[in-house]
């Protein structure tokens, strides 16, 4: 059962407090988008073996969404960060670089 630090309230949250939200940093495709882009936005996901950027909501806690960088094989958490960004911030990328080389 995972432990993720909620960057909004600072709590080291148990997985049972959290709701998963799937892959992070999807770009919304609205009316006017072509079929392929829209299908990709709705359904196509990375599902990597390794570091995954993903969305979580501290549903049974502060209620806020956040992002996590987590290794899907080892369960290692390389950082959690704000939901209000469109890509992983520099410090998260640096941490991944530091640990993964």
């Amino acid at each position: 059962m995972l432990l993720l630090r909620c960057p909004n309230c600072g709590i080291e949250a148990e997985e049972t407090e959290l709701t998963p939200g799937g892959e992070a940093h999807l770009k919304r495709e609205g009316p006017g988008s072509d079929e392929v882009s829209f299908e990709s936005y709705l359904f196509t996901r990375q599902n990597p073996r390794g570091v995954h950027f993903e969305r979580w909501r501290h549903a049974q806690g502060c209620g806020k969404w956040f992002h996590a960088a987590r290794d899907t094989v080892t369960m290692e958490v390389l950082g959690t960060y704000s939901a209000q960004v469109t890509e992983p911030p520099a410090e998260i990328r640096a941490e991944i670089e530091r640990r993964r080389g």
Partner: protein
């Protein structure tokens, strides 16, 4: 015979006798006994029957690895099947019964399976019961089900309680042998919060039994001193009787505690979050594969030693020891010292043992080196052992009468907890064992190892090495300095011989009587057959032969089984690999898993402020989410069906009262609230004027309808959103997701205020008269027209009154502060008494909305329905550039003209269609099933119309008005129904707008 010796037994209290029964026979034991030791002391060697061949089975082990001695304990609803006698503490008055036999343990008809076992090879079921096909369901399965299974589950409700217990620590040490104690001591000295748990009822593990010395003292003394030291440390908690069942991600551990005092919970499930885990879980001795190794009286050498040292029980009068390593010599020496005859030590190794061998010779024991076992003979009990050359093909060289055989095939570290979360193993050729590979540990959230293994579990088999390893592990786990490890004197041991079969070239006749898995009856020849038939993967062989799939999960059989597979495949053991270790380590009870979550505490119950009135007035409850809502209010002698009809008629002709407090209420506020509402709803909400209400639809980004309800605009930047009862939390979460993760720059707040208000619908032609009697607000049609709301006071209670209708009648929904909900309800009842005001429940609500053709989320929608399917195009804005779901609704499948669409349905005979009935079409589909062209989504008997009415989704439905379709019935027939408008009652809407 097996018997209690006059002296010895470090765990029993000879002054406290305990009586119990086994299969109805009264027996005696002592406090401190396990059920197994007490049965053995009473010479009860035969304890059960194996699963497949019903062969007689006795004790093999003394701990949780025991595969055979599974008994039913207790009586009635509190009884528990399949309890291991070896880990069940003896209790006064305990009743135990053996399992898997008929008519009796001693005389079992299932034994014919054994005589015919050559006809029941590995994969027998898969091969035999496949033809003819219909036989499986009607002949084979019923017979197999009756014959299968071990114990009998109780049928009554469980009378006991169970609890969950949460614990947190920096270092969790699992296992209270010398390794665990030393690791906990070392970790405790750093000041870390340490929790040490041991599955058995006592500390020290095998060390006191094996008679080792630690720092010059008896192991037992060292154990006592260490336990005392740990008890004196404030930062350390130590508990016996707690079994760690599984290790999960990020240091989460589940443990089970089953031996609890009377009066409290029966079992306790521990949920432990540990910073680091040290597993000091020891090792389990392996059986040896030789013919007749399953006859009662053949057991592990360590178990024979345990019964002697711990309980003062001799497993027999003449005990032959068979071994491929030095450790079993300890058993021979201990038995001899206790005055029990050991006719011989049969050592499979040509070169024999080290220092312990010399001690055995000094004690006058006979040792046969390079000698194997041709067969153990006996009927339901060992009678003799026949010896042969180990490197030969089994020609008998000697025969020894005996009544027990103590065997040792070496030791396997208990690596389960290490492996649960991905810790990898490495094959240790010298010790013939899989041991943890410290370089490939399971990782924690921080990317570092979260489990360290200590002692025998780590493959360290000498006491000195165990203590050094545990010191290192405890310090590492706590991040401290190890200090000096205690010393121990270990006799010099000769290496183990990796022998997996005796004799080495045993012919088929012997191999087919050499058991690997005792409980599931898997023999050496079964694994060989699986290999021949192409089951080369150990995981496939396991499932094909059922090796390791019994309740002991292969604790004794796995390594011997894969070594046998390795030999059959002519591949080295590490290439064959192990099967996956999965929790729990030993079975834990369903009661413990459920914990407190049963009956009233299964889940929270949400009550409206008016719940108490409903309860006092005979509400027939319907669960809706976590709420209970009245389905109807039957009067004495009235059926539910009649009550619903009465409630509807009273409402349509006079006035009804509905507790609508459960409806979701979410406040959406801020400068960008209008913009946000336009994205949430398919229709335009930003144009709604303050004081007005509008019905709206919400879709997912997939385009599917997820909720509906009435929106009221409170002021320029505030909307009050009403959701369905079940949708309140979900829709609030939906709003927050979009606001926090997509439009985070929009200035909008949302808050779920569902429980802040009681909401009461006053419904029917006399509704206005009731509100006027309550007094305090102008509720006239001019001041408060349809689809508006006003704030004010009714009967002195602050109220927000909405002119909205879900029934088609003149209707007011009155929201008052939750604390005054009951007061308002009572006032409305009093004010309406003159008009015969009638409280109604959810079924009347449903029927009345269906009579009006109003959709219900969850009936007309199922996650695949878009608003356009329901004829709700009028509620979809054409002006807006975007809303959640708009793009999806433009996809080709969504605009397909052949989508099923909403219509009303009327049976020709007035009957009520069945819920979910399908409209049949001509022909058959690719699977041979009849084609369909629609389905019923809502169906009721309408008291207003005096007939059945229904709504459904039908292919091109709206274009086929008047057409008659056939609908299925569960009985297999069909019933004819005509396609009509879904609005059955007051199609012009005159009644609600007065």
């Amino acid at each position: 015979m097996s018997r209690r010796l006059p002296r010895g037994g470090r765990l029993i209290d000879r002054d406290t006798p305990v009586t119990f029964t086994f299969n109805g026979r009264e027996l005696g034991g002592h406090a401190g006994d396990t059920l197994a030791s007490a049965l053995l002391a009473a010479d009860q060697v035969l304890l059960g029957r194996s699963f497949k061949y019903h062969r007689p089975r006795g004790l093999v082990a003394s701990g949780s690895e025991e595969p055979n001695a599974l008994l039913g304990i207790g009586q009635g609803a509190a009884s528990e099947p399949n309890q291991r006698a070896t880990t069940t503490p003896l209790q006064p008055g305990m009743t135990a019964v053996s399992q898997n036999h008929w008519p009796s343990l001693e005389w079992d008809v299932g034994r014919v399976n054994d005589a015919a076992r050559h006809f029941f090879p590995a994969g027998f079921y898969y091969k035999t019961f496949i033809h003819p096909r219909p036989f499986w369901k009607h002949v084979f399965e019923p017979v197999i089900r009756r014959a299968a299974g071990l114990g009998t589950a109780p049928t009554g409700p469980d009378p006991d309680s169970y609890e969950h217990f949460h614990a947190f620590c920096d270092v969790l040490v699992v296992g209270g042998g010398v390794a665990g104690l030393q690791a906990a001591l070392t970790a405790g000295r750093t000041g870390s919060r340490v929790l040490l748990i041991e599955q058995r009822g006592h500390w020290g593990g095998r060390a006191p039994v094996d008679g080792v010395n630690i720092d010059g003292a008896d192991a037992a003394d060292w154990v006592n001193a260490t336990v005392q030291a740990l008890e004196g440390m404030e930062n350390v908690t130590i508990r016996t009787g707690v079994m760690a069942a599984g290790v999960y991600d990020h240091g989460y551990v589940i443990a089970s505690e089953e031996s609890l005092p009377e009066g409290g919970p029966r079992h306790r499930l521990w949920k432990i979050r540990a910073g680091h885990i040290v597993t000091a879980t020891g090792a389990i001795e392996r059986p040896l594969a030789f013919a007749g190794n399953d006859i009662p009286g053949v057991m592990l050498a360590s178990a024979a030693r345990d019964y002697l040292a711990d309980y003062g029980v001799a497993v027999g009068d003449r005990v032959v020891v068979v071994t491929n390593n030095d450790d079993a010599y300890r058993t021979a020496l201990a038995l001899t010292e206790a005055g029990i005859e050991v006719p011989a030590i049969v050592d499979l190794r040509e070169s024999g043992a080290g220092a312990l061998g010399e001690a055995a010779r000094a004690a006058g024991l006979t040792i046969f080196q390079g000698t194997g076992v041709h067969a153990v003979k006996g009927n339901a009990r060992v009678a003799k052992i026949q010896l042969c050359r180990q490197d030969g093909d089994g020609a008998v060289t000697a025969e020894l009468p005996c009544d027990a055989v103590a065997m040792s095939g070496g030791w396997s570290p208990v690596v389960h907890l290490w492996s649960h979360c991905g810790g990898k193993l490495t094959w240790d050729d010298a010790q013939a064992m899989f041991r943890p590979d410290a370089g490939r540990p399971p990782l924690g959230a921080d990317g570092r190892a979260m489990v360290t293994v200590a002692g025998a579990a780590n493959g360290e088999l000498s006491t000195a090495a165990v203590l050094a390893d545990a010191t290192r592990a405890g310090a590492g786990a706590a991040g401290g300095e190890p200090g000096t490890a205690p010393g121990a004197d270990d006799p010099a041991e000769a290496p183990i011989a990796p022998v997996w079969l005796s004799p080495a070239n045993a012919p088929y006749a012997l191999r087919s009587k050499a058991w690997l898995d005792y409980q599931n009856d898997v023999k050496v020849t079964d694994v060989e057959l699986a290999a021949r038939e192409g089951y080369e993967s150990v995981e496939h062989t396991k499932r094909y032969t059922t090796l390791g799939m019994a309740t002991d999960q292969g604790k004794l059989s796995n390594i011997n089984g894969l070594a046998t597979l390795s030999r059959a495949l002519e591949k080295p053991i590490p290439e064959v690999g192990t099967t996956t270790f999965r929790p729990p380590y030993t079975p834990i009870s369903f009661g413990a898993i459920a914990g407190e979550a049963r009956g009233e505490t299964f889940q929270p119950l949400r009550r409206t402020p008016i719940h108490g009135w409903h309860e006092a007035n005979g509400a027939d409850w319907e669960p809706v989410g976590h709420w209970r809502r009245p389905y109807c209010f039957p009067k004495a002698g009235e059926s539910k069906h009649d009550a619903v009809a009465r409630e509807i008629n009273a409402t349509r002709n006079g006035v009804g009262l509905l507790d609508a407090s459960t409806l979701g209420k979410i406040l959406v506020k801020g400068p960008d609230a209008g913009r946000f509402m336009d994205m949430l709803y398919t229709n335009l909400m930003s144009s709604l004027k303050p004081g007005k209400c509008r019905y709206g639809l919400m879709c997912s980004e997939n385009g599917f309808l997820i909720d509906d309800g009435v929106v009221a605009r409170l002021d320029d930047d505030t909307f009050l959103v009403h959701t369905t009862t079940g949708g309140a939390d979900r829709i609030h979460a939906h709003m927050e997701e979009w606001l926090q993760t997509e439009w985070w720059d929009w200035q909008v707040y949302t808050v779920n205020i569902t429980e802040a208000f009681a909401q009461v619908a006053v419904v029917g032609p006399k509704a206005r008269a009731v509100l006027e009697t309550l007094g305090g607000m102008d509720v006239s049609a001019d001041t408060l027209p349809f689809m508006t709301f006003a704030d004010g006071e009714l009967a002195g209670i602050p109220a927000r009154v909405f002119r909205i209708s879900f029934s088609g009648e003149l209707s007011y929904e009155v929201a008052v502060p939750a604390s005054r909900g009951r007061e308002f309800w009572d006032a409305a009842l009093a004010a309406g008494a003159a008009h015969g005001i009638t409280p109604y429940g959810t079924e009347a609500l449903h029927v009345m909305r269906a009579e009006k053709g109003f959709i219900m989320i969850g009936d007309e929608t199922d996650g695949t329905v878009i608003p356009q399917d329901l004829g709700l195009d009028w509620a979809i804005s054409k002006k807006k550039d975007d809303y959640i779901g708009k793009r999806a609704q433009a996809r080709s499948h969504m605009t397909d003209p052949t989508r099923w669409k909403l219509v009303g349905l009327e049976t020709l005979d007035g009957s009520v269609l069945e819920d979910g009935a399908l409209a049949v079409a001509d022909g058959r589909n690719a699977n041979g099933q009849g084609n369909t062209q629609g389905r019923v989504t809502s169906t009721y008997r309408s008291p207003t119309l005096g007939r059945g009415i229904a709504m459904g989704l039908v292919l091109n439905g709206p274009d086929r008005m008047g057409e008659v379709l056939d609908f299925t019935t569960l009985a297999g027939g069909t019933v004819k129904a005509k396609i009509v408008s879904p609005v059955f009652y007051d199609p012009e809407g005159e009644k609600q707008n007065v």
